[in-house]
Amino acid sequence: MPIITNLDVVLAKRKMSLTDLSERVGITIANLSILKSGKARAIRFSTLELICKELDCQPGDIFEFVPKNK
C-alpha cells in the first residue's frame, strides 16, 4: 500500500508503548496493531484526532505517502 504508517517511530520518540496509547485513547491494542502494521484500510477522523492529541503530533508525522514505483 502506498500509505505507510510511522506510528512506531512516533511512539518511540514519545517513549510510549502501544499499550499505553491504547489505554489513553480508548482504542483496542488489536486495532492499534492493525494500524501500526499497515494492514488498516481506513482511519476515522475521530480516531486520528485522538491519536494526534495524545501523541502531540500531526497526521503527517504518522502517515507517509510512498508512490508504488519507488
Binding site: L32, L35, K39, A40, R41, A42, I43, T47
Partner: protein
C-alpha cells in the same frame, strides 16, 4: 429448527449426494474400462443400447382402430437403439458425455459441501464461500453447453453411420438457455457476495 440444525441436516444430505454421485462416476469409469478391455462378463448387448432421437418413424403396417386400417407414424421422440453383436463406438461416446456430466455435478456438490462446512463453522462472509459460489456458477454454465455438444456430435456421427429404413433421425443441439440463465444468476450473486466481503473487510480494518 434453528439455523445451525438446518445447516447440519443439509450438510448430511449433501454428503449422501456426494457419495452417490461419486459411485456414479466410478461406475461409468469402471464400465468403460471393462468394455475397453473386452472383459467376458460384460455383455455390450445388455448395456441397454444408446439413446437416439428421431423426427419420424414410418410404419408399413397400418394402425387398426375400431376395425379400420389407418396409416400412422411416430414423430419427435427418443428411444434406445439396441444393435446386437456390433462394435458400438457410440456407447463410448455417450459414456464420455455422461462422465463429463457426472464429474461436473460431483464438482458442484463438492463446492456446496465446502460452503456448508464453512457455514456450520459460523464463517459466512469469507472470500472462499464467494469463490465456491462463482465456481458453481461456471459449472452450471458449463453443464448446459458441453455435455449437450458431445451428445450433438455423437448424434451426428450416428446419423451419418447408420441407415434405418422408415426412420428419420433427428440431430439438434438442445440449447438450454434456462440453465445458462440460472448459471448467470448465480454468477451475479457471487460477484455481489465477493464485493460485500471486500466492503466488510474495509469496515473491519477501519480504525
Amino acid at each position: 429448527m434453528d439455523n445451525y440444525k438446518i445447516l447440519k441436516v443439509t450438510k448430511i444430505i449433501l454428503n449422501i449426494f456426494w457419495y452417490l454421485q461419486l459411485a456414479v462416476v466410478a461406475s461409468i469409469i469402471l464400465i468403460g474400462l471393462l468394455l475397453l478391455f473386452d472383459v467376458d462378463f460384460i455383455d455390450l448387448n445388455r448395456l441397454n443400447g444408446f439413446k437416439i432421437h428421431f423426427s419420424k418413424i414410418i410404419f408399413s403396417d397400418p394402425l387398426i382402430y375400431n376395425g379400420e386400417n389407418y396409416d400412422f407414424s411416430l414423430t419427435n421422440g427418443e428411444g434406445r437403439l439396441h444393435i446386437n453383436d456390433l462394435d458400438q463406438k457410440f456407447v463410448y461416446l455417450r459414456m464420455f458425455g455422461a462422465l463429463i456430466d457426472s464429474i461436473v455435478y460431483l464438482m458442484i456438490i463438492h463446492f456446496l459441501r465446502k460452503i456448508f462446512e464453512s457455514l456450520t463453522e459460523n464463517k459466512y462472509f469469507v472470500s472462499s464461500n464467494g469463490m465456491y459460489i462463482k465456481k458453481i456458477a461456471i459449472s452450471i454454465i458449463f453443464l448446459s453447453i458441453v455435455p449437450e455438444m458431445i451428445y450433438y456430435l455423437t448424434d451426428r456421427w450416428i446419423i451419418s453411420t447408420i441407415e434405418l429404413k422408415n426412420v428419420i433421425f433427428k440431430n439438434e443441439f438442445n440449447f438450454e438457455y434456462q440453465t445458462i440463465l440460472l448459471g448467470l444468476l448465480v454468477f451475479v450473486i457471487s460477484i455481489v457476495f465477493l464485493r460485500g466481503i471486500e466492503l466488510k473487510e474495509d469496515q473491519d480494518l477501519t480504525i
